[in-house]
Subunit: 407 residues, 2 copies
């Protein structure tokens, strides 16, 4: 495996065209798009237009008509949701953009309790991304429900389980759960499934409806390229929408928000998952981020990221024997996780050399491999630098041990 091999694979890559849609800084090999997606070229002009024209010129009128012939701000959560739906195997009217993943976990888990009256337990996985269990515990305490955080959540399902809440792709290891099989197991126990797709949406060929999934949310700022802290999306299967009551019943979730009725009447469809006034600037940036997937087949994207990961793991095995693979060989998301006792310092040393990944406690160097803008030559060069950082022990420089607030 030589650098020339990597370049040859890039030439043969059917998704190579997609990289031109992004602005990546010179001299950086960006392998952290699973934390913050890279900047699409369209984002800055889209936001400039939204600010100067939609806000500045049309002002409040943009709520009804933002002036480009396809509706007003009021429809933007549903419109951007519909554009995400294709990427996750959902119908257009099953997805809407709202709030953050954390807030949506709360809404969806509360909705699951409403959808499964008589059942009062939520089951989730120990060691998963913490915000899910944090929020589920907040809900359980408030609602008088039971939260079980289990090493083997499927084994914990019983006839009190209203909801099995899982992330499909594990944030640290990249391990991917089988959506359909897991959902079937939950349904067999009479429970609903709720999926955190933060590391799946835009990375894998997710097919929620083929899996018969019930509820899901996911991140707009990772593989969907929506910008820092982009709003999240919510999926509720159509069969559940009429009874999916959620307690963050703000005015944008009302059947008629601008009638200013005193009683809450939830919107009949997915709009009931909205709470307060949606953040339009974040939505416009997410719209531009999702648009980078136009013409992209998600099966091809998933296959490319897997090939990038396989290539990376093979190179590491060959050149960096100090690193241990901390991710599955198959059923792996668009990332590779490598363990090392000094993974924190290694991550910092790599960043100093222009290779941007991230550290995940206790000992993981995590490298994201989004299909739209990651090249095989980036992987080759990154491993080349990693091998050098290891061989020279450059990571022992004391400045790389200084802990940052955000790791």
């Amino acid at each position: 495996m030589t650098r020339a091999d990597a370049l040859a694979r890039d030439v043969a890559d059917p998704l190579a065209f997609a990289r031109a849609q992004f602005r990546l800084p010179e001299g950086t090999i960006y392998l952290d798009g699973n934390s913050l997606g890279a900047l699409p070229c369209a984002s800055a002009p889209r936001l400039a237009h939204a600010i100067t024209h939609e806000w500045g010129e049309r002002l409040i009128g943009s709520w009804n008509d933002a002036g480009e012939g396809h509706g007003g701000w009021v429809d933007l959560p549903a419109r951007v949701g519909a554009s995400i739906a294709r990427l996750i195997g959902a119908a257009a009217d099953e997805v809407i953009v709202a709030d953050s993943v954390s807030v949506n976990v709360f809404k969806l888990a509360a909705a699951a309790l409403a959808l499964r009256p008589g059942r009062r337990t939520i089951v989730t996985e120990a060691g998963d991304f913490p915000t899910d269990a944090y929020v589920l515990s907040g809900l359980a305490r408030l609602a008088g429900a039971t939260l079980r955080v289990e090493a083997d959540p499927l084994a914990a399902l019983d006839n009190d389980t209203a909801l099995l809440w899982l992330t499909q792709t594990h944030y640290r290891t990249g391990a991917v759960r089988d959506l359909a099989a897991t959902t079937a197991a939950a349904h067999a126990a009479g429970a609903l499934t709720g999926w955190d797709l933060s590391h799946s949406a835009g990375a894998l060929a997710v097919d929620l409806n083929r899996a018969n999934a019930d509820l899901a949310t996911g991140c707009g700022y990772k593989f969907l390229n929506g910008g820092p802290g982009a709003p999240a999306f919510v999926f509720v299967a159509r069969r559940h929408q009429g009874a999916a009551e959620q307690p963050l019943s703000g005015w944008f979730g009302h059947a008629a928000p601008f009638a200013f009725e005193q009683e809450f009447r939830p919107a009949p469809g997915i709009e009931r998952m909205l709470a307060g006034t949606p953040g339009i600037l974040g939505l416009r940036a997410l719209e531009a981020g999702v648009a980078t997937f136009e013409g992209v087949d998600m099966a091809a994207a998933e296959a490319k990221s897997r090939a990038l990961g396989d290539f990376l793991l093979a190179l590491v095995e060959q050149r960096c024997p100090e690193m241990t693979g901390a991710c599955p060989r198959s059923a792996r998301g668009a990332q590779v996780s490598l363990a090392h006792a000094h993974a924190y310092e290694l991550t910092q040393a790599l960043i100093a050399r222009g290779v941007v990944g991230d550290f995940r406690p206790p000992d993981v160097l995590r490298l994201g491999l989004p299909a739209l803008y990651t090249r095989f030559v980036d992987v080759w060069d990154a491993v080349d630098i990693l091998a050098d950082v290891l061989a020279t022990e450059a990571w022992r420089d004391p400045r790389f041990a200084v802990r940052q607030a955000v790791t």
Copy 2:
């Protein structure tokens, strides 16, 4: 009262300087800044920099250091919160920017139930902005608490009342409640106060701490000029922060978000009011919006808006006898409300003539008077056009009766 009088008052206006900070469209008299604040000149360049440089160039590194010498994105909710604190009479560490007003009402009301154990009733006002009661009802149902929506909420306080939730400035009438007296009455009943300051923050000289207020939230996109759907702010008095548990316990509210601990430990201070990852683009726009208040004394801003309203009401009395004042003469927010049986059509007819206000059911034409960019001559010209629309019955044009989605 002549147009020359209005021009003379503008010349004498000590806040006239502030208008130069905004981009207002030619030919429009914008009297809807209480719905969507006008565009600050600084917003577009601020967002362009945040997108191109902070996101595009510095990428994930901006979470720790966004490159302008004052911290990273991770601190932005607190930093923008601190800049809002001055406008509402709070300490810098009592305010943070998070989510929407609707979501924050939920958090704060849940926190009030935690702060007043043994008390299970929330009291709020009938006829107020609907989202507050909608969300409170969602919380009450989930938590097994009681919500009372009362015409006279102060009279409804009893020894089961945990929280009196009110908006300080009524969205439709502009009537302003006395923060200190109302808070004292709630405290006398053993209840906490929670304030929706959406129509107060940036409009009035709010002094939460002088009033001994407990909890508050408010809108970033009205008088604070943060842009469409800007994030909201949350206030928790320092004395309550240690025990103010809120159930939307997402990772950004954790004491150590990036330690990825499995158990939720709330941040000791106001950060516990955060939930998910904050939307950075919305925060940057809000930061620019709040910065338009630099050098502005809120007592002067309140006095100017009141003078604008008095001027408007006097002109209407003189020139538009068909309109009925639907707002208090004193204790009024930075708006004027005028009733007319055909207020909807009138609002549309005014918009067609370049005078932008809004309609609030059933019969109110609402005109916002933000001190930073509204001139006395704008008020004079708006009433002049209103008088003409009434005299010519221009509002009878059938196209003005067509209902828009957002009114």
